[in-house]
Every structure is written in C-alpha cells, then in structure tokens.
C-alpha cells in the first residue's frame, strides 16, 4: 500500500517536474513573445533525440548532455525568433493578426522539425538504457534513472525559479510576462526580451526532452505534439503569463496524470483534455489567477 | 414617467470599484448628461446598462422591467441602444447595410423586408448621410462614422439612446450639427443619456446632469446648478469656462 503511494508520489513529481519545465517554456513564449508555439513539443523531441544520439553514439551520459545541450537549444530558439517571428511581428497589422500568423508559422515549423527528425533518425521507436538498475528507497524499489531524473528536474526548476526571482534579467522577464507594455515603459528592452524568452522557452523544452528520454524508452519523431498540448493545458491551468502558475500547474497535472494512469492506463491524456475543457469553461484565467 | 431606474449599482474590477453604489433615474423624454473626469466610470455605467458587462450588485430597471444581467442583444431588443466611445462600425460594410442590420435584428416588430429600403432611407436622411448608401464605413470621415453609429442605433427602434462621447474629435461645426441631431432625436420621443466632455454641448442641450467621480455619483441636477456645485468644481478644477450665458 505504502509502496503504491510512494510510487504515485515519485511518478507525480517526476512527470510534474517535466511538465512544469515544458509549461514554463511555453508560457515564456506565449506570455512574453506572444507566440503560440505549436512546435514547442518538437523541441522536446529534439532534446530526447539529442540525448539518445549523444549516449548511443558518443557514450556521453545524459546528465552531461543536459549541460551541453542547454545553450545549444537556447541559441536555436533565439535564432528562430530573430529570423522568423521578429519579422512576422513587423509585418503584422495588429497583435491579434501577429498571434494568428505566428501560430500558423509555428505549425510550419512543427512539420519541418518533425520531418527533419524523421529523415535523420527514422521512424522506428528508439530508446536507451542509462542507470536502469534498481535502488531501494524508503523500503520500496525504484529504478535509479527515475530518481536521478526526478532530482535533476527539481534542481533545474529550482535554479530557473531562482533565476527568475532573484536576478535582474529574471525579474525583467517576469515583468514582461505579466505586462509587456508596462515593462517596456520601465526600460526593459523588449526586443531583446522577446528573443531571450523564446530562447529560454526552447531551452526548457530541450531539457525536458532530455529528461524524458532518461526514463522513457519511447523516443519517436511523433512524440512532440502530446507535450505541446500538455504545455498548453498547464499554462491555461496556471494562468497565462504566470510563471509560478506554470510550475504549480505542471505538478498538479503530473499528479492527475499519474493517478489516472494507475486507474485506467491510456486515459491520462483524455483526463487532461477534460480538465482543459473544464478550465476554459469555468475559469480561463487559470485557477491560480486572482 | 421613469424610463430608467438604477439602484445600488456596483461593479468591481479586481478590487477596484469602477461603479460604486450608483442610484439615479431618467424620465421619459429627458436629455441627461453624464459627466466626470476620465476614469470616473461613465463608460462602465453605460456598459452595465447596455449589458456589455454584468453588475456585481444593484438593479437596473427599464420601463419597470429588470434588464440588469441580460445579454446585450436582449437589452437592445427591449429598447435600449447605444454608441461607443471608440466608434464601433463595421469597416467593410456599406452605410446601407449598417442600418439594415439595426432594422432586421434590433427591432422585434420588424418583419417584412418590403418596407426596409424605405425605412433605411428615412433613417439615413435623418442623421444626414443621404447619398452615401453604398459607401464603405471605413471610408467615411469620423463625423460621418459617428452619424452612422447613431443611424444604426436608431434603426433598432430604441426608446432610450446612450451616446458615449459622440462629439469627441469633432470640429465646432460638427459639434453644432451633433447637438442639433440629439435635439431631433429627443423630439422623436427618444430619451437620451449622453456622456460628454464637450461642456458647451452639455450646458446647451441637457435637461439634467449627473456627475460621476471614482465610480460614485458626486452630484445631480440642472446644468446651472452643477456648475455652481463646489465639489464638482473641485473635481474639474476650473473646466467650467463655458457658462450658460456664453452659449
């Protein structure tokens, strides 16, 4: 009984941590840069494949890959923003038009990234085994990689949280997420901020993907969309532009998903969508919004 | 006869009271002015009456029927029409169709389309847009766009018309024409409440004036009384440079 309970707790924290990461990334991109990035999950997928490639072909352990890949993903996001979305922003007549266009552009991006992954790595499901030995914790037995992933995701979340809360750039980002116009008036360089946030968003997705690959043996070019949707749901749950809300929302969804998987595996996504629908109907501003 | 009766109306936006316990009534046939500094809650009051937003407390009675909480289209069909502070026209639609929409949807008594063209022409002529039937709304001057908004509102056969800063952005000639139009509307038997910053107009055509400040009703009375009211003067800090004798 206790084992089951512990299993659920660990599972929730694990998935919650990953969901929180990807949600925060999505929130930064939509809340600040106003880009509804439908391709967000694809970067998670790339992160997972990056870990796989580095491990399988280079023998580099995933933890190290995290450190190596983080700046790369950040750069990718940063570049995509300044080449694509910044240009769209200039040519769009209004914010609403920009939001629509950037969403559609991100669809295009989604197809491109998915297809590139398909070409590079092929369709068959991939996975690798790292630290897959059992360890005992509080009397129960868990797989070491799950524990490592859990600890790592919490560390990343905490580090990023501190970054947002304590540093100047972090505070500027939070301000821009809450109210881009006001932030601009307070001297925050908005253009730099947008690209920065987009870069961070991609980085979070990549890191989440790396973490996912450590505990899951199902890495495929098509795994991304599910995470994009989860990110959307978490962001709505926690409130748009509310970074703290995305963190908390991620963990709530992680808990719900784990519990539902226990009762009826295969229905966790359906449960998420129903929560999404309920949220949109009852409190679209998010349960954590005032 | 009271056509509009507002009691204890309150609306909060995130802790701030945009409308705070407002009571007032409007008699049939009056032209009532609604004034107050920016942010006083005038447009919010209009939004509450027209159904764009729902009150947190209080009640709005129109011709002895409760309208607070109803959807805008129902309130429109009941007989309350309005214009908007930032002109809400249908940019790509013709002048003619604007009025048609008001006729077809805003007036539950309107059934036949045979008389439509005739009625549309009458309304267009009434507001002074004759000959512009086929023009697109986006191509009109600001003054004409405001006329169009009024025409569309009139097409819904209202008994009460809410005009939100209909004279903003108009030059003196256009203001005079607007004032004349408001008088004509009242002469047709339609009660008018107008939000305005153009004091000349308020003084000249309003029977009564209500002053809002920070969401509360500050004062109420005839235009001359309002200009002499101490608290109103403080709030406006000498904006009353135009006294009745000057108009």
């Amino acid at each position: 009984m206790f084992v089951k309970f512990l299993d659920i707790v660990i599972g929730s924290l694990l998935m919650g941590g990953i969901y929180a990461l990807i949600a925060v990334g999505f929130s930064l991109q939509y809340g600040v840069a106003r880009v509804l990035n439908v391709a967000h999950g694809e970067f998670l997928m790339l992160g997972a494949f990056a870990a796989w490639s580095l491990f399988t072909l280079g023998g580099i352990n995933p933890i190290l890959s995290l450190v190596l890949c983080a700046p790369v993903f950040f750069l990718i996001g940063f570049l995509i923003h300044i080449t694509l979305f910044k240009r769209l922003k200039r040519s769009s007549e209004s914010l609403a038009v920009f939001e629509g266009n950037s969403m559609l552009a991100s669809f295009g991006l989604m197809f491109i990234v998915q297809n590139l992954a398909l070409i590079i790595w092929g369709a068959p499901v991939k996975g690798y085994s790292y630290l897959a030995y059992p360890i005992s914790f509080l009397g129960a037995v868990f797989s070491a990689n799950r524990m490592v992933t859990l600890v790592t995701s919490i560390i990343i979340s905490v580090v990023f949280y501190l970054f947002l809360a304590r540093t100047r750039t972090g505070k500027a980002i939070r301000a821009a997420a809450q109210d881009p116009v006001a932030a601009a008036h307070m001297g925050v360089s908005i253009n730099k901020m947008l690209a920065l946030c987009f870069g961070f968003g991609t980085m979070m997705a990549g890191l989440a993907g790396l973490l996912v690959s450590m505990t899951s043996i199902m890495v495929t070019p098509f795994m991304g969309m599910e995470y994009t949707l989860i990110a959307m749901i978490v962001v709505v749950l926690g409130g748009l532009g509310n970074i703290k809300g995305s963190f908390i929302g991620g963990f709530i969804l992680g808990l719900v998903g784990t519990i539902v998987s226990y009762i009826q595996p295969g229905l966790s996504m359906v449960a998420f969508y129903l929560i999404f629908l309920l949220l949109l109907l009852v409190k679209p501003a998010g349960i954590l919004a005032k | 006869m009271k056509i509009l009766d507002v009691q204890g109306l309150r609306k909060n936006f995130g802790g701030l009271a945009a409308t705070a316990d407002v009571d007032f009534h409007v008699d049939q046939g009056e032209i009532v002015g609604l004034i107050g500094p920016n942010g006083a809650g005038k447009t919010t009051l209009f939004n509450l009456i027209s159904g764009a937003i729902t009150p947190d407390a209080g009640i709005i009675m129109f011709k002895d029927k409760k309208v607070s909480g109803l959807k805008p289209y129902r309130i429109c069909r009941a007989g309350i029409a309005r214009t908007f502070q930032s002109v809400q026209i249908f940019p790509k639609m013709s002048v003619f169709n604007h009025v048609v929409i008001g006729l077809l949807f805003g007036d539950h008594r309107h059934t036949t389309s045979a008389s439509t063209t005739e009625e549309v022409s009458q309304i267009i002529e009434f507001v002074g847009l004759s000959g512009m039937n086929e023009l697109r709304a986006a191509d009109l001057t600001l003054a004409n766009q405001k006329r169009l908004e009024v025409a569309r509102a009139l097409a819904t056969q209202p008994e009460l018309l809410l005009l939100d800063e209909v004279m903003a952005g108009l030059n003196p000639t256009e203001v005079a024409e607007a004032m004349e139009l408001v008088r004509k509307i009242r002469d047709k038997g339609i009660t008018v409440i107008m939000i305005e910053h153009v004091m000349k107009a308020i003084m000249a055509i309003c029977d009564r004036v209500i002053v809002l400040h920070h969401g509360e009703k500050l004062a109420e009375g005839k235009p001359e009384e309002i200009t002499r009211n101490q608290s109103v003067i403080e709030v406006y800090l000498g904006e009353f440079t135009c006294l009745p004798s000057e108009t």
């Binding site: 552009a105 491109i112 297809n115 398909l118 229905l267 999404f276 629908l277 | -």
Partner: protein, 313 residues
C-alpha cells in the same frame, strides 16, 4: 456594366467546369477520377472551414475532429444503411458535436478557442483509441470499400451542397449578421444580434459538411483507425489553403485549395519522405510573404496598377 459581365463570365466559367466534372468518369481514367476526388475533398474541407472561420476570424483547428466523426460514423454504419443515409448521419453527428462544443467554447477569446479545437482533435482521437483497445478489443475497423465512381459522384454532390450553402449564407440575413460579428462582435451584439447563437450555428454548419465528406472518403479506404480518421494535418491543410487562396469571395478558396491540393497530391507521390518538410516550408513562405493569399497578391497588383483599391465583384 463591367461588374455584371465579370459576374456572368465567372458564373459561366463555373458552369463549364461543373459540367466537365460531372462528365469526368466518362472520359478519364480511374486513377484520374480518384485524383480529382482527393482534390475535391480538400476543396470541400476548405470551403467548410471558410464558412465559419472566414467571417468570424476564429481560427478553428477542429476540422480533423469533424471529419473523423464522419469517418467513424460511416465505418460503423456502412453495410447496414445505404450510402446517402450514412453520409447524412455522419454529417449530423458532426453537426451535433460542433453545436455542443461551440456552445461551450465560442465565448472564449480567439486564441483559447483555437487551442481548444486543437486539443479537441486529440481528445476524440485518444478516446477513440482507448475505446477500441479496451471496449471493442480491436484497433481500427475494416470498411467495405465502394466503387470509385460512386465515391466521386457522392463527393461531387457534397461539393455542390457546400457551394450552395456558402452562397446562400453570404446573401442571407444570417450572413449579414455573421459578417457584422466578424467586423465588430460588440457592435453586432448591441444591434440585437444573438452573437453566440449565430457563431455556434455557423460552426455547426461548417462541421456538417466536414462530417459529410469524411463519411464519403471512408469508402475509399478499406481500413480506418483513429490516427487516419483524426489526422491533424486535415486541420492544418484547409487553413493553409484558405490563407493561400484568400477568403474574400467564394472562388478564391476554391482556386487556392485546388492548386494547393493538386500540388500536395503530386508531392506525396513524388517525395513521400520529404513531403512534410516541403509542406512546412510552404506554410512558412505563405505566412511570411503572402499573409493575404493569392487574392491579396492580386489586389496589391491591381492597387499598384490603378492607384486605388478596386471593388470586389
């Protein structure tokens, strides 16, 4: 009058094309007929999408959901009922779903609505998959395929119906209300229009045709499963085609989607491996360089030539 001759010649041209289409199976190979069937599928989906998303500006990504409902209704009922009934029931099922979903979600701000329609496709697809795994026991269904000529004529009928619907909606009182909602929802509501009802009804009408075409297309495949029926690409394609062609009048989306669908058919056969890449690239190019589609490009050219904005026919 120049406008009237333009109108009549367009209409005449259209009648000619329609006649050509009706007689197609008599002079074209079976392969060609299937090819045109696929193109018509996209044209219908695009037109249906435009019926709602065109005037209101709400970007719906639920197309795949309504198409898939039509597919599954057809898969379940095929063999027990005759084709016309199957199509109608499939269309009605989508209509009802859209009505319910629309009533719940159309009061949401644009982006939230789009997000939800996106999630809706996955929701139904996942649910269908779960249902088949846990309740039915087998994933996917076998369908009795029909003759390609019957399918072709069924699609042609749906095409004509959606054209008629689009045309009459535009010219009706309902269409006027719809247009006004798209241009200023607030003003429309205050002019006595029951905005929610109009939006929901239009959404449901567009879903009706998506369901209809889904029900017909099922007969082309011998096997359907959730990923095939609820393929998210069927939500993006009509969107892209509508943007590519423009949505100003009835013909622009037809032309745009025909060209696009034609290219897509060619690309999938020639470059099955890279096709998504090309598609994504095309999407980016269209969004960045042609946000108003071909129609927008034409208008710009006309504007530059004449020095003033020209009127629509």
């Amino acid at each position: 009058m120049k406008d009237k001759t333009k109108k009549y010649s367009l209409f005449a041209g259209f009648i000619v094309i329609l006649l050509l289409l009706i007689s197609l199976p008599s002079y074209a190979s079976s392969y060609r007929v299937i090819f045109v069937t696929n193109i018509l599928m996209y044209v219908i989906l695009t037109l249906s999408w435009v019926i709602f998303s065109g005037p209101t500006g709400y970007i719906s990504l639920a197309t795949a959901a309504f198409f898939g409902i039509g597919v599954y209704t057809s898969a379940v009922l095929s063999g027990t009922l005759s084709l016309p009934f199957v199509i109608i029931i499939g269309a009605l099922a989508s209509f009802c779903l859209a009505f319910v979903v629309g009533s719940l979600t159309l009061r949401l701000r644009g982006m939230y609505f789009t997000m939800f329609t996106f999630a809706l496709v996955q929701l139904i697809s996942n649910f269908a998959h779960w249902y088949e795994v846990n309740v039915t026991g087998t994933v996917g269904r076998l369908v009795l395929a029909l003759d390609s000529t019957i399918i072709y004529y069924s699609i042609l009928v749906v095409f004509c119906l959606v054209l008629l619907a689009s045309h009459f909606i535009k010219r009706s009182k309902f269409g006027l209300a719809l247009q006004s909602i798209g241009e200023s929802e607030e003003a429309a509501a205050h002019s006595g229009i029951n905005v929610t009802l109009v939006k929901v009804t239009t959404f449901a009408i567009s879903a009706f045709f998506m369901g209809a075409v889904g029900a017909v297309m099922t007969m082309r495949w011998s096997y359907v499963d959730p990923p095939t029926a609820f393929d998210i690409r069927l939500s993006f394609m009509p969107l892209l085609m509508a943007i590519f062609g423009g949505m100003g009048n009835l013909f622009s989306p037809i032309i745009g989607s025909s060209i696009f669908a034609y290219l897509e058919e060619i690309l999938t056969t020639k470059f099955p491996y890279y096709y998504m890449l090309l598609f994504g690239g095309a999407m980016l190019l269209v969004i960045v360089f042609m946000p108003h589609g071909i129609e927008g490009v034409f208008r710009k050219l006309q504007k530059n030539n004449k020095g003033q904005l020209s009127e629509k026919p």
